[in-house]
């Protein structure tokens, strides 16, 4: 067990810091510290252009293996990459679903042809992805997927019908990965398949959901005989659940470091305001600020544990608690931000409902403890899978 960085790591730090300083300029300067959950509606086109800029510098897929077009960076250097990206105020990544979820999933379960066809679009910052898991009747009970897919008469295309919901960035995406029921009459996690579906077709309709923030980054997505070619099935028919769950494991990998870097910038903003308005002199707020700061460090150490452990797809104890840990931490940061702002937090930037970053943080973090497995589901998973306690009764 050892912390700290080698001199080779430190010169890598110079390289990425220098690149970011040189490129996060001009047309990209307004993007600094923008985007990311809660601010995904800001600058979508400009941030897509930034993805292409990053890609041209070779900074997309830094953790991917070289045979997939990645840099194959060590864990230490990936940590440094995320640290420097945040320090420079790199904008929230539009490509994170492709880079962090689809890439590793295709590397693990895709065919060589699928990797060759789909990974370059991600790595070059040309193609953006969204995630089609949740449905109106399949939230916490994710296996209750009702979206159906069947082969057409010629056996060349899958035809998909149904509805997905809470789909982040669907309106900006070129592709959606869809969990669909391909065995008629099957129930639960049996009979599901993992399909990659192009978004640009008339049979798919995207309807933004107006959130309690007044903005929209989640959507409803309606599929009405939407089409995708048979070579866009990942794995075998019926393996959808296995692949969907493995993908959630990748969600707890290196991408957590990028997420924490956004948290870091939010906390820095809260601390800056606390110093400016005198809240930093309040003993109770000082306690909460120090608690937030050390809590964020603990999230980081948790990630270092996840990344240093065996990468065999099994979730370690630190991975099982990760979602519950960060969602609680982030919701408390949102409340702390408002308590630090005091009266100033009650007035909007502009009518009708333009929020400041910290107001948006306060409101948006109410979703963190719900999406991606609510805190209640997380506690069931921890109790049953990590602590070996009896399973909840199920009706099927």
């Amino acid at each position: 067990m050892k912390i700290g960085f080698s001199s080779a790591d430190e010169s890598f730090r110079q390289e990425i810091a220098g690149w970011l300083a040189a490129h996060l300029q001009g047309e990209f300067a307004p993007l600094r510290f923008r985007g990311g959950p809660g601010d995904e509606h800001s600058f979508p086109n400009e941030r897509k252009a930034w993805e292409r800029e990053l890609a041209a510098g070779g900074w997309v897929g830094v953790g991917w293996q070289p045979e997939d077009g990645g840099r194959g960076l060590s864990i230490s250097q990936q940590v440094i990459f995320h640290e420097e990206y945040a320090r420079a105020g790199g904008p929230g990544r539009m490509g994170h679903i492709g880079e962090g979820l689809v890439g590793p999933t295709l590397a693990a379960f895709g065919t060589p042809a699928q990797r060759q066809r789909l990974l370059p679009g991600i790595r070059e910052g040309r193609e953006f992805w969204c995630q089609g898991y949740s449905e109106p009747g399949a939230g916490s009970d994710l296996a209750n997927v009702q979206t159906r897919a069947r082969l057409d008469a010629a056996g060349e295309r899958w035809l998909i019908s149904g509805q997905k919901v809470w789909t982040s960035l669907a309106h900006e995406a070129d592709w959606c990965f869809v969990l669909a029921r391909t065995e008629p009459g099957s129930v639960g996690h049996h009979g599901l398949s993992f399909l990659l579906v192009p978004m640009a077709q008339a049979q798919i309709r995207v309807q933004p959901i107006v959130q309690l923030t007044g903005t929209s980054e989640f959507n409803e997505v309606f599929f009405d005989q939407a089409q995708t070619s048979t070579d866009n099935l990942v794995g075998q028919p019926g393996e959808g659940w296995k692949i969907a769950m493995a993908l959630l494991g990748f969600e707890r990998g290196v991408s957590t470091l990028g997420q924490q870097m956004q948290f870091h910038n939010e906390l820095a903003e809260v601390m800056r305001i606390a110093q400016a308005n005198g809240a930093a002199g309040d003993p109770l707020l000082r306690q909460r600020i120090a608690q937030a700061w050390s809590g964020l460090k603990v999230l980081r150490y948790n990630s270092l544990r996840m990344l240093s452990g065996p990468q065999d797809g099994n979730l370690g104890r630190e991975a099982m608690i990760y979602k519950l840990a960060w969602s609680n931490w982030h919701a408390e940061l949102g409340k702390l931000a408002m308590d630090v702002l005091g009266d100033a937090g009650e007035v909007l930037e502009a009518a009708p409902y333009r929020l400041s970053r910290l107001q948006s943080l306060f409101l948006f973090t109410r979703s963190d403890t719900i999406y991606g497995g609510s805190n209640e589901i997380q506690r069931n998973v921890i109790a049953e899978r990590a602590l070996g306690m009896p399973r909840e009764p199920r009706s099927r």
């Binding site: 067990m1 840990a325 209640e376 921890i382 306690m389």
Partner: protein, 386 residues
């Protein structure tokens, strides 16, 4: 960067676990409670002279094993799980780091050598803030006369060597503080064992009545000891946090064992979601504390290693604060939940949860409460004089 244990570290953990599961089981812990003012001497002898745990951190030059603080933290975690009653914590996590940071080779050779050989145990009289150093050290010929008292010293009545801070008359703040190595048999040193709420660890009141000590007893230059004392206490807090982590884990494990056996309404109470969710929250706190403790142990290692990384060393305050605050709160929470989830029997003397609950409270208070550490951290974050 590698944030996982080596095979050697895992071996230390496993062998400590095997030894303590037997030598410090519930019966042994309860027998130790009944000893009024010492620890089980046979257990201390085995730890010092058969297992060589006190030698673990001591550099090879002084007859020790020269392992790092991470290895010691691994050991401490197991000691915490089994509520080991022993002077090991004060000796290895407080006195040994202080001696290693000292600048007095003769003193180091004598006492680190004796500690490594299992022939001496030692402690540090803690003072978290400079103002708490109240023993007076008056220059007197070729040495000093120490006068004053120290209300609570961990294992103060058991230690063969006491490291005691004292200040020169009229000095204030961080200035004028010296750290003295005071052998237990020094004339004028009075030690009174105190009855303690947590009976698994000993405290003593120390009184110094015109104790005369020569220059050779100074750990570092006279009047310049605050940074050493401060860092030794931060490192000690990390060692204590490792012990608290073990206690928290064990409180959770005891609870899981009990609730899977205990049946109400025709089913094990572990099957109720109200209970599952509370256990999940306990594990959340334990694992967060674990990450904080491991990281802090790596920082402590760099602070004690001759070739320690200066960038990592600079994280000592923050790492100690993060680990101590998280481990204190995780342990107290898990111990309190352990009583609650045991129900009525959790309130009895017969069942073990109260032993963990009392240790959790004592350890939370010792070497800085969570609120105290967070205030230090806030001062550093806001660039105030810490």
């Amino acid at each position: 960067m590698e944030f996982a244990f080596t095979d050697e570290q895992l071996m230390i953990r496993d062998s400590a676990e095997r030894f303590l599961a037997q030598a410090s089981d519930s019966q042994a812990v309860r027998a130790a409670l009944r000893r009024a003012d010492d620890y089980d001497p046979e257990l201390c002898r085995r730890i010092g002279q058969e297992l060589y745990w006190p030698a673990l951190l001591v550099p090879e030059a002084f007859g020790g094993m020269g392992l790092g603080f991470v290895e010691l933290a691994v050991l401490q975690e197991q000691c915490g799980r089994f509520l080991l009653g022993s002077p090991l914590f004060a000796t290895s996590c407080l006195a040994t780091p202080a001696l290693m940071l000292a600048d007095n080779p003769a003193l180091q050779a004598r006492w680190l050598g004796a500690i490594a050989a299992g022939q001496a145990c030692a402690t540090l009289a803690c003072a978290l803030q400079p103002a708490r150093v109240q023993v007076q050290a008056v220059a007197d010929g070729d040495g000093y006369r120490l006068h004053g008292s120290h209300a609570q010293v961990i294992d103060g009545a058991q230690a063969d060597l006491l490291l005691i801070p004292a200040r020169s008359p009229g000095s204030t703040g961080e200035q004028g503080i010296s750290l003295f190595a005071v052998p237990a048999d020094t004339p004028g040193l009075m030690r009174t064992a105190l009855p303690t709420l947590d009976q698994t660890r000993r405290l003593a009141c120390i009184e110094l009545r015109q104790v005369h000590l020569g220059d050779a007893h100074l750990l570092c230059a006279a009047g310049q000891a605050w940074p050493l004392l401060r860092d030794a206490q931060r490192i000690g807090a990390i060692g204590l946090a490792a012990e608290q982590l073990g206690g928290a884990q064990q409180a959770l494990d005891l609870t899981l064992a009990y609730i899977s056996e205990r049946r109400q309404f025709g089913r094990p109470i572990a099957s109720f979601q109200a209970i599952k969710h509370r256990c999940a929250d306990m594990m959340l706190q334990v694992e967060c504390a674990r990450s904080a403790v491991w990281y802090a142990a790596c920082v402590a290692r760099e602070c004690l290693a001759a070739d320690g990384d200066p960038a990592v060393r600079s994280e000592l305050l923050a790492a100690a604060a993060t680990a101590k605050a998280h481990a204190s709160e995780a342990f107290f929470h898990c111990a309190a939940e352990s009583i609650q989830l045991h129900g009525g029997v959790g309130f009895t003397w017969e069942y073990d949860p109260h032993l963990y609950f009392k240790r959790a409270r004592a350890s939370e208070q010792m070497l800085g409460t969570p609120a105290w550490h967070r205030e230090r951290l806030a001062a550093q974050l806001f660039g105030e004089h810490a």
